[in-house]
């Protein structure tokens, strides 16, 4: 009984079918509790007023946007090394989710920035690196769609994901070169003095957990769809050959 057993699509689908109800349910509960708690049962921030509540969508979506790419990177590596199709399809399935989360992060950030910083957009290091992440998602998805042969597509997108990760990381540090910018630094770490206060922290963590579970559920679901699609194509090809 090893982790690699789930490289078998049948086993993967069976496990996915068992896990998915819990993931969807827990995601719904987490997001609902996190958002309702955050929206209606936390005090206003003494400086930001009610706009602080955007944090309960902004931070989780940004968290998923970055971690979705890391998950795609790991899945791509598994595909390149061990050539498990499920892994390649999982990376393909995660990309649009990550793209949407990036857009949500950028939009909520703009909505939050307008009242707080007085501008929708600034060329701040964090904002800029997020925009480049958005471009990387676009390129990755476009490359998947451009290639017909599924194995070649998986190969090439995996290589792009690897190289892209390095360059995305470099862009991340390159933009730090300009200035520190408007965006605040990390304030969610467990060991720092300058954290946000617990009243905001607990609903935020609940919301982040909810978003993460939603991401897991979506990726499982979409990977299942991709597997079915692949099967349908293989069946179609076989029928064509027999006819």
């Amino acid at each position: 009984m090893s982790f690699w057993e789930y490289a078998n699509p049948v086993k993967f689908l069976a496990l996915s079918a068992r896990v998915q109800p819990f993931a969807w349910g827990a995601a719904a509960v987490g997001i609902f509790v996190g958002l309702v708690w955050g929206f209606f049962f936390t005090p206003d921030d003494f400086r930001q007023g009610s706009t602080i509540r955007i944090i309960y969508i902004h931070v989780p979506s940004a968290w998923i946007a970055i971690n979705a790419w890391i998950m795609m990177l790991i899945a791509s590596l598994i595909w390149l090394v061990r050539r498990h199709h499920v892994s390649a399809l999982a990376a393909k399935a995660a990309a649009p989710v990550g793209l949407v989360m990036t857009v949500i992060g950028l939009l909520t950030g703009a909505l939050w920035g307008q009242p707080m910083w007085g501008t929708w957009w600034a060329w701040d290091p964090r904002l800029t690196s997020f925009l480049t992440l958005f471009l990387f998602y676009l390129g990755y998805i476009a490359l998947w769609q451009a290639i017909e042969d599924p194995d070649t597509a998986a190969d090439l997108t995996s290589v792009l994901c690897l190289v892209g990760s390095v360059f995305a990381l470099m862009s991340r540090y390159a933009v730090l070169f300009w200035n520190q910018g408007l965006h605040q630094g990390a304030t969610l770490s467990l060991d720092k003095e300058e954290n946000i206060s617990d009243v905001f922290w607990f609903p935020l963590i609940t919301s982040i957990a909810g978003f993460t579970l939603l991401f897991i559920a979506l990726v499982l679901y979409r990977t299942g769809t991709e597997i079915s699609l692949r099967r349908a194509r293989a069946l179609g090809a076989r029928l064509e050959k027999e006819a």
């Binding site: 290589v159 892209g164 390159a174």
Partner: protein
């Protein structure tokens, strides 16, 4: 390896090889800038390093689809893939040939165009240095992008979408070095980082490009 380099250079310099197209594009782009932002020399001088870097980058990008596509169509790449020479080396040579035919002329032409954009006198040296250090990275990243998309029909636009985000760090450091040079600030840090990106790209990207190419032509 030398033979391959000479062959690529000869093909590029001959009529129809597209040599000079990138250069002409660079010239036109720079000439269009004053038309779009107005002829105030102070403003032009401020944005000159950035415009020249952006122009060089776009000129580089424009010539990328010729980098491997022709060799892919006539089967040269298949020969190269089965040749005793490692494909990594062949692609590094192709990147070098692209740099000699596109990057180097851009570096040499940039100061002349800098005059058109009223670049401050102290900025010329650093502009040339930053371009000379940065364009090898542009060529090698482009070589990777070309290898990734060579099997795709009408992959030119897709390649731009893939390559441009990869150009971001190079552009940031290169333009920053040129800008700092133009206003007389210290340029060492961005120049060193730029050189680092170039060296890293030249050292590692041939492997990524060869991997991508093998997947396409296997």
């Amino acid at each position: 390896m030398t033979a391959l380099l000479i062959r690529d250079l000869r093909l590029a310099f001959r009529a129809g090889g597209g040599f000079g197209l990138g250069l002409a594009f660079f010239l036109i782009l720079v000439v269009l800038v004053p038309f779009s932002v107005g002829p105030e020399s102070a403003l032009l001088g401020t944005i000159a390093p950035g415009i020249l870097w952006l122009g060089a980058l776009l000129a580089c990008l424009l010539s990328l689809d010729r980098l491997l596509a022709l060799d892919f169509e006539d089967g040269t790449l298949d020969v190269l893939a089965t040749a005793p020479l490692p494909l990594e080396a062949a692609l590094a040579i192709k990147g070098l040939a692209h740099w000699i035919t596109t990057g180097l002329p851009l570096v040499l032409a940039a100061p002349v165009l800098g005059i058109l954009l009223n670049l401050p006198a102290q900025g010329f040296g650093w502009l040339v240095v930053s371009l000379a250090l940065g364009t090898p990275a542009l060529s090698m990243i482009g070589c990777f992008g070309a290898a990734l998309t060579v099997g795709i029909k009408r992959g030119g636009l897709l390649m731009s979408l893939l390559v441009l985000p990869l150009y971001v760090p190079t552009l940031i450091f290169g333009a920053e070095a040129a800008r700092r040079g133009a206003v007389g600030m210290a340029v060492e840090t961005p120049l060193l980082l730029l050189a680092g990106i170039s060296l890293g790209s030249v050292a590692l990207l041939p492997f990524a490009a060869a991997a991508a190419l093998r997947m396409t032509i296997r």
